[in-house]
């Protein structure tokens, strides 16, 4: 992969450009061997490390968003939920966190206060203890209002690692709810499309639901489809697990208002960010039961089985015919056959977070 001369907004968009940036970074900062069981090179949601006999998950996240307060949440809530979800998607119970705040000169203290309240409420709800912190103030214009950085340390709930590369042929792929709501709500609001009264960000923490699911089911892989949307997340699954996923478009739920807004914005809801959804690969036999479990929870009430990883013989037939190689996600559409579901190249509009 070649890297551009300058960092562009699209390098943070969650698509192919971002892959290029991440490759550049991890080449310059190679993961040290020894401590990590699953290192930064795996490009997963977090790393897995071992101290004494406890297996720990470490994840780190930076957040920024404009506007700071949006329908359904704010930067504070986003900071904690984002960190929690990354940790939970690895199958770990979040325990400790660090928090760094970078503030722009002139930020109203009242605004900061409200965001800190949000951070406190969300972390208390999750039983997450913030054990260390740092704060910097940057001159006006050097940063946009406020940036947060969190590191979360969690404890694996079972012996198995839950990674993006764990999808097995035959697995069912579940999605925990409607997609695209966060990104489209934000863009609709910025563009003044008038959908904001009905469309809220889906930002929420999923760790309770996901960890309970890990406890009860034979889950092979989990991921929260944030930037780059469902399309990117599924592609991470198929590429890292070296399987071909066959997803049915009609099984993917999209909020009707999000659909209307994305139509107007010319966006594909499958490539837009989410902040309270997960995709889960589970052994086929447990798919229905897991679906029932997810649907019984508020965070998963709109869950559905959206597709499956093809078995080798099935995969071979398709790949031989079309000249493709393994590791793609295919989308069976209602009106135009089965398409390759690509990672969005860049976000079509300045990125959301």
């Amino acid at each position: 992969m070649t890297m551009d001369d300058k960092i562009m907004l699209s390098h943070g968009g969650g698509g192919r450009k971002m892959d290029e940036l991440l490759a550049y970074i991890s080449e310059r900062l190679p993961a040290k061997t020894g401590v990590s069981i699953l290192g930064v090179g795996a490009m997963d949601d977090g790393a897995v490390t071992e101290l004494d006999t406890n297996r720990l998950v470490v994840t780190t996240d930076a957040h920024t968003i404009s506007p700071l307060f949006f329908p359904g949440g704010d930067l504070g809530k986003l900071t904690i939920c984002g960190a929690l979800n990354d940790c939970a998607a690895m199958g770990a119970k979040p325990k400790l966190a660090t928090l760094a705040l970078v503030l722009e000169e002139g930020l109203p203290v009242e605004t900061l206060g409200k965001l800190l309240d949000s951070i406190r409420d969300e972390s208390e709800k999750a039983g997450l203890e913030i054990v260390a912190g740092d704060t910097k103030v940057m001159p006006r214009g050097a940063i946009s209002e406020m940036v947060t950085v969190t590191t979360v340390i969690g404890e694996l709930v079972s012996d198995r690692l839950i990674t993006d590369s764990g999808v097995k042929p035959g697995d069912a792929i579940l999605l925990t709810g409607e997609v695209g709501t966060h990104g489209i709500a934000l863009m609709s609001m910025r563009e003044g499309l008038g959908f904001e009264t009905e469309l809220e960000s889906d930002v929420t923490s999923l760790h309770n639901m996901l960890l309970a699911a890990c406890d009860q089911f034979d889950i092979h892989a989990m991921k929260d489809p944030t930037r780059g949307g469902l399309a990117s997340a599924l592609n991470e699954f198929s590429a890292k697990s070296k399987v071909t996923l066959l997803i049915e478009e009609k099984k993917i739920a999209v909020h009707p208002q999000a659909l209307a807004a994305s139509d107007m914005l010319g966006l594909d809801p499958l490539g837009v960010s989410n902040e309270g959804k997960a995709i889960i690969a589970v052994t086929k036999d447990q798919a229905e039961e897991l679906l029932g479990f997810l649907q019984s929870r508020e965070e998963g009430k709109n869950a559905s089985i959206i597709g499956r990883a093809l078995m080798p013989d099935e995969e071979k037939k398709i790949l031989d015919q079309s000249g493709l190689k393994t590791g793609h996600t295919l989308l069976k559409t209602a009106v135009s056959g089965t398409r390759i579901m690509e990672k969005p190249h860049t976000e079509p509009i300045p990125r959301v977070c």
Binding site: M264, G266, T333, T338, I349
Partner: protein, 813 residues
């Protein structure tokens, strides 16, 4: 049958004639046999597969000359000679004239020609219609050396029955007698069959009902307003009574094609003549005789022509045209024998985005049986699925001056080159020692291979965004590579777009074949395809207006109004349409009001008054569009004439929502009045700064259009035209002016560069106004003007250009 030799007689010579072209599977050898035996000449004829056909004939010199003359003059209908090599050899004496067992020739790079499927001939039709004929009367698979399935049934070459899907049907005694009788028109007819030994039809849900009973039941279903699926010779059709509005609407619902035109089939020439006579009022179409060679020739394509018929206006809503074909196989004739209606819809049997179903399993997989009241299937395997071909009559009168245009001088470019044409190829004026292939564009794709001096495109594949169609493309290419014995193509050509699935496909193919990759820009491929179409020398320099809806030009630039100058190998972009933004990408294409909005903004006008009522989300959307237009660099900019036509279509209120590819532009074309002429001053205004900036500025056309609309509003009735007539006049004038503008721009470039050939290609070449006006301007300037003829100017011809350009570049390395 080894010929026995006797001592040579005096005064006789022997010649060896090696013939290449379409000479296999078209009754060529029996024809040679008859020519020779008629003159009591002896010798042999041998099918040597990829080496062509070899004739040895002994006779007096005058007899040999006469034989040779007749060979060229009296060819059977499906045969075509591309090469004839004659050698005098030592005199041999033969005891008779014999047709030898076929062999597969080895060595050399020569290539066999595999015949295309041919529409049922007159003699076979008569047999089908003869109810007293026990073997062939009402039999669906009647064929002879002059007609019947070919490419759709051929597994491999040389073309002989054991290598077709008829191998499963051993000939009965009578068929065998005909097959071995050199005097019979079924002599060596590889796909001959009769009711006793051949394939047969049955109803999928009730296989007990077969043969005539099945056809009768199907015919009754159609007459009763039902929908049927008919497995044909190369694919399947969804069929219903074209005159029954309810049935057609039901079919529309199923195919999710609410206004896209449906192809139809008319009982016979007499019925078609009656319909054309009705359409001829107002000079919309020429009389049948002028079109007969297209309608009833061996290719039997769908011909699209202007027609305003209230009785079937649901076939092509809003287009004022019809797409019609004549029956081309026995099953069509037998269905019409039992149906009351003389006109049926015959649209390909597939949901959009998937290849057409070719057997009972696929019909079920694609759930065609859920819509159909009856499914008619047969047991002759279809080796290659081939859709119907489509030709568009795109002019009202023939060209009178010198023109390189064929088809009786009527401009009738081919839209989809498939059944009846494939796998016939195009000869280029250069030999390539190694072969290669091309994977085509993303929409309406075909693939193509090149071997020696011949380009062979695949049948129509469809949009290669879907895995199913990619698999179809792969299968079609593999089949061509196999039958043309091209085992290791050296290159793979593909579109310049980095992310198209077909680009990915090309890369993986190149990997497998260890071949080199050649990305070919979409519009350059159009130029190269036009060069192939007109057999230009490889170094011929041309200026071509490549006008279409979209093609990747550079990152963030969607081209489609480009003037390219150069050779089929490489060209430069020497002119382009003033670009405008596609507001919110694909959405703008589906909602051409957004294109119109962008055009207004680009011209410094406020779109709200004219276009506000066309927006679905009112003020919010208008604000969004304004805001979006102001944010440079977010949206793709396009220079496509296809999109400009979409924009004008919205501005004139002709089409504001697109439900199928090309709809707004096609409707603008349909709306335009024939009784208009180009506005010369307006054209000049559009190219005022052409020399300096190489830009064709459409803004004067927008100003003129709005002024005309305003004037007619102000002077209601004064102009003696109603609002519809105003729109029709503006639409006609605008399109003619676009043709003239491009014509003027191209002639200026030709003059600057010293080129004397100009041309037009791209999907806009199907328009009835633009190519005609373009050509008029160029011919007036004394230039040779190329219009597309046998290679589709739309995306269906891109693979031909890709493979040719890549071959030229590859041979230079």
């Amino acid at each position: 049958m080894e010929p026995s030799r006797a001592a040579p007689a005096k005064d006789t010579n022997t010649r060896r004639l090696t013939v290449k072209g379409v000479v296999q599977g078209v009754g060529f050898r029996p024809f040679v046999y008859r020519l020779a035996t008629r003159r009591e000449m002896r010798g042999s004829v041998l099918n040597k597969g990829s080496m062509g056909v070899e004739i040895k004939v002994t006779g007096t010199i005058p007899n040999l000359d006469a034989f040779q003359t007749a060979l060229l003059a009296e060819l059977p209908p499906l045969a075509r000679i591309d090469e004839l090599a004659v050698t005098e050899i030592p005199t041999e004496e033969f005891s008779e004239f014999s047709i030898l067992e076929s062999i597969e020739g080895t060595g050399g790079r020569s290539i066999a020609v595999i015949p295309a499927d041919a529409g049922i001939c007159k003699a076979c039709s008569n047999e089908v219609l003869d109810t007293k004929d026990s073997r062939r009367g009402s039999y669906e698979f009647v064929a002879c050396v002059d007609c019947g399935p070919r490419y759709s049934s051929i597994e491999d070459t040389p073309y002989d029955r054991p290598k077709t899907s008829y191998a499963e049907f051993p000939l009965c005694k009578e068929c065998k007698t005909e097959y071995i009788d050199p005097g019979d028109r079924r002599f060596h007819a590889q796909t001959t069959a009769c009711r006793i030994c051949g394939p047969n039809y049955w109803i999928a849900s009730d296989p007990e009902i077969n043969g005539r009973a099945a056809i009768q039941a199907a015919a009754r279903t159609v007459d009763a307003g039902g929908i049927i699926v008919v497995q044909g010779i190369a694919g399947s059709h969804l069929v219903c009574d074209a005159r029954n509005r309810e049935s057609v609407l039901k079919l529309r619902n199923f195919k999710n094609r609410h206004s896209k035109p449906f192809a139809s089939m008319i009982r016979n020439e007499e019925a078609l003549k009656r319909i054309l006579t009705k359409c001829a009022k107002g000079g919309l179409v020429p009389e049948y005789d002028r079109l007969a060679s297209i309608f009833s020739g061996t290719c039997r394509p769908i011909l699209i022509f202007d027609a305003q018929l209230p009785e079937t206006n649901w076939l092509s809503p809003g287009l004022g045209s019809l797409g019609v074909m004549l029956p081309y196989t026995g099953v069509h004739l037998t269905l019409f024998q039992h149906m009351n209606t003389d006109w049926i819809v015959a649209t390909s049997g597939n949901p959009s985005g998937l290849p057409m179903a070719i057997d009972e399993t696929e019909i079920a997989e694609q759930e065609l049986d859920t819509i159909a009241d009856l499914v008619l299937v047969h047991n002759r395997r279809i080796v290659q699925r081939i859709d119907d071909s489509v030709i568009r009559l795109a002019t009202w009168s023939p060209f009178t001056e010198e023109t390189s245009y064929a088809n009786d001088q009527f401009y009738a470019p081919i839209i989809r080159r498939s059944r009846g044409y494939v796998p016939e190829g195009f000869i280029v004026r250069i030999e390539f020692p190694s072969g290669g292939l091309a994977v085509g564009p993303i929409l309406d794709a075909t693939g193509a291979i090149i071997v020696a001096n011949k380009i062979i495109p695949t049948q129509h594949i469809g949009d290669t965004e879907s895995i199913e169609n990619l698999a179809f493309l792969r299968d079609a290419l593999d089949h061509l590579l196999k039958i043309y014995r091209l085992s290791s193509p050296e290159f793979v050509a593909h579109d310049l777009h980095p992310q198209m699935p077909s680009t990915l496909f090309a890369k993986q193919l190149a990997d497998e074949l260890n071949a080199e990759l050649y990305p070919i820009q979409h519009h350059h491929a159009h130029l190269a395809a036009l060069a192939v179409d007109h057999s230009l020398e490889p170094d011929a320099q041309i200026v071509v207006a490549t006008l279409d809806g979209v093609g990747y030009g550079a990152p963030g630039e969607a081209w489609g109004g480009e003037i390219l100058a150069g050779t089929a190998s490489t060209s430069r972009r020497v002119g382009s349409l003033l670009p405008f933004s596609l507001l919110a990408g694909d959405k703008a294409v589906k909602h051409p009001t957004r294109i119109a909005w962008s055009m207004f903004k680009e011209a410094g006008l406020d779109p709200r008054e004219s276009l506000m009522r066309q927006l679905n989300h009112g003020d919010h959307e208008a604000d969004f569009l304004d805001n979006r237009w102001g944010r440079k660099g977010i949206d793709v900019k396009t220079s496509a004439v296809g999109r400009l036509l979409d924009g004008f279509s919205a501005i004139l209120g002709v089409c504001t929502l697109r439900s199928y590819k090309g709809e707004p532009a096609m409707k603008l074309d349909a709306t335009g009045s024939k009784e208009t002429s180009a506005n010369h001053n307006l054209a000049l205004a559009c190219i005022e700064k052409f020399e300096a900036k190489q830009i064709i500025d459409w803004r004067p056309m927008l100003h003129w259009t709005l002024e005309e609309l305003h004037n007619s509003e102000e002077r209601k009735g004064d102009l003696g035209e109603n609002p519809h007539e105003t729109v029709s006049r503006i639409a006609g004038t605008l399109q003619r002016t676009i043709g003239e503008t491009y014509g003027l721009a191209c002639t200026r470039i030709a003059e600057q560069q010293g080129f004397d050939i100009v041309g037009i290609s791209g999907g806009v070449a199907f328009n009835r106004f633009i190519p005609t006006e373009f050509r008029r301007v160029c011919v007036e300037q004394g230039l040779r003007c190329l219009l597309p003829a046998s290679v589709p100017p739309g995306d269906g011809g891109v693979s031909v250009g890709q493979v040719y350009a890549a071959a030229l570049r590859h041979s230079m390395v």
